[in-house]
Symmetry: C2
Subunit: 293 residues, 2 copies
Amino acid sequence: MLTKLSSATQEVIIGDEGPTVLIGERINPTGKKKMAAALLEGDMEVVRREAIAQVEAGADMLDVNVGVAGLDQAVMLPQAVQMVMEAVDVPLCLDSNNPAALAAGLKVYKGKALINSVTGEERSLGAILPLVKEYGTAVIALTMDDEGIPTDVEKRVAIARKIIERAASMGIPAEDVIVDCLTMTAATDHLAPGTTLEAIRRVKAELGVNLTVGASNVSFGLPDREVLNSVFLTLVIGAGVNCPIVDVAKVRPAVLAADLLLGRDEYSARYIRGFRQRQKALEEAPQQAGAPG
Amino acid sequence: MLTKLSSATQEVIIGDEGPTVLIGERINPTGKKKMAAALLEGDMEVVRREAIAQVEAGADMLDVNVGVAGLDQAVMLPQAVQMVMEAVDVPLCLDSNNPAALAAGLKVYKGKALINSVTGEERSLGAILPLVKEYGTAVIALTMDDEGIPTDVEKRVAIARKIIERAASMGIPAEDVIVDCLTMTAATDHLAPGTTLEAIRRVKAELGVNLTVGASNVSFGLPDREVLNSVFLTLVIGAGVNCPIVDVAKVRPAVLAADLLLGRDEYSARYIRGFRQRQKALEEAPQQAGAPG
């Protein structure tokens, strides 16, 4: 199953045969005080910088989230989308829990966007799927509903199925629904990541759709988070995720390795190109070598 | 299915519910000129040092291979086994293609050893399985036969089945056969690692036995080998390998992360302990911090 997304001039195709598509997560003020403060002051330059840096690091798409308490999302999101479109030419993922903001963002967007996100809640289905239909976007479907995130695999698969079926009933094809089986931290429940992995395998096997996941929640509250995030990302890609939302600069080497090892990189071409790019970047910034964190 | 191995006083249990058992690979002169030269001069001190270093780094077992052209394995292997048993108290994996050397090593070994390895070749089955039976060991079964390493999954599974059945006919239980689905480099065939992964999943699902693999061949001829080896190790553990043969110091952080994420580490206890051990080691060797590779 192929999901096609586009910017003004570029198309990105998500599917099991192709390489893993990396959606850059860094345009998001959650937990980032500096970015939140800049946005509150109306300073969007930080959004431009993060957009350019992530695409240089190898992002195939960018998530755009400018949710800060006290700001009108319906004004901010289209501004941010506009700014990112001027800075880079990759498809965007419009990320907001505010349907009016998503609509305003989609109005200015050029291409086929991804909406982040719809859930199994009736209110969400009723507000988001009509936008998907009207603007011809794709959408990320979170496997949660009015009762929260189910702790068992069966219910998560059932929610994914429900969202796909509801979308189909409105004429939205399954390839435009990208399922996120949701990750909770292993710190409070050591079985939580395994539940996510099993849900991913089940959704892939039974529903056949493309899958995303954010790979950093899993390590919340634990030390050495980068190792956990990177290993979890490898496991979810092995289980069927093909367009994760990630900190691209940190995880790209591991993802290129996973793609090669999963048979998605003929002649190791992307892997070797990625390695050379990193070498070149290191040579061009020798003063950075060995600098702490 | 549980495989139990032991040293003079310690038992190690390999199974899907428990943590990944790490078999240290570094007592092996293949590709190590210094170690080969030391062994040729009869200097076994290097073996002792590698044994201690690997166990300190977290090895649960050690592979012992002293194969150097020009040395009598039947003399060297028991000497090396004796030296390692004096230095550390973990179960050993006796690694030789020479049945007489394995027999000599098993004669001096105290505990239940692992033999590395038997293949599907009649000559190998006929020479190795009687040793497994006589000394009550477990054995690593390589999925290759007289025709070499099959490129297709089906044949590798068939060889694993054949070895397990042959062992059973001699009274050797399936839990004492640990299958190695063999890894070839991705450099010459980008589909090779995927074949290994699929063979691992099939052997686990259909034969239910424990699985090992050496994770470093996969990166032969490619740059940035450590990233590839570490990602491959994560993928094979996710697919069912539970006692890989590895460079323990390099891969242990990723393996502890994988065990946690796969639900094998309640309260994140081993993961956090491993993190603290690494921190302590760094604090005790501050002059090493930031030193190049």
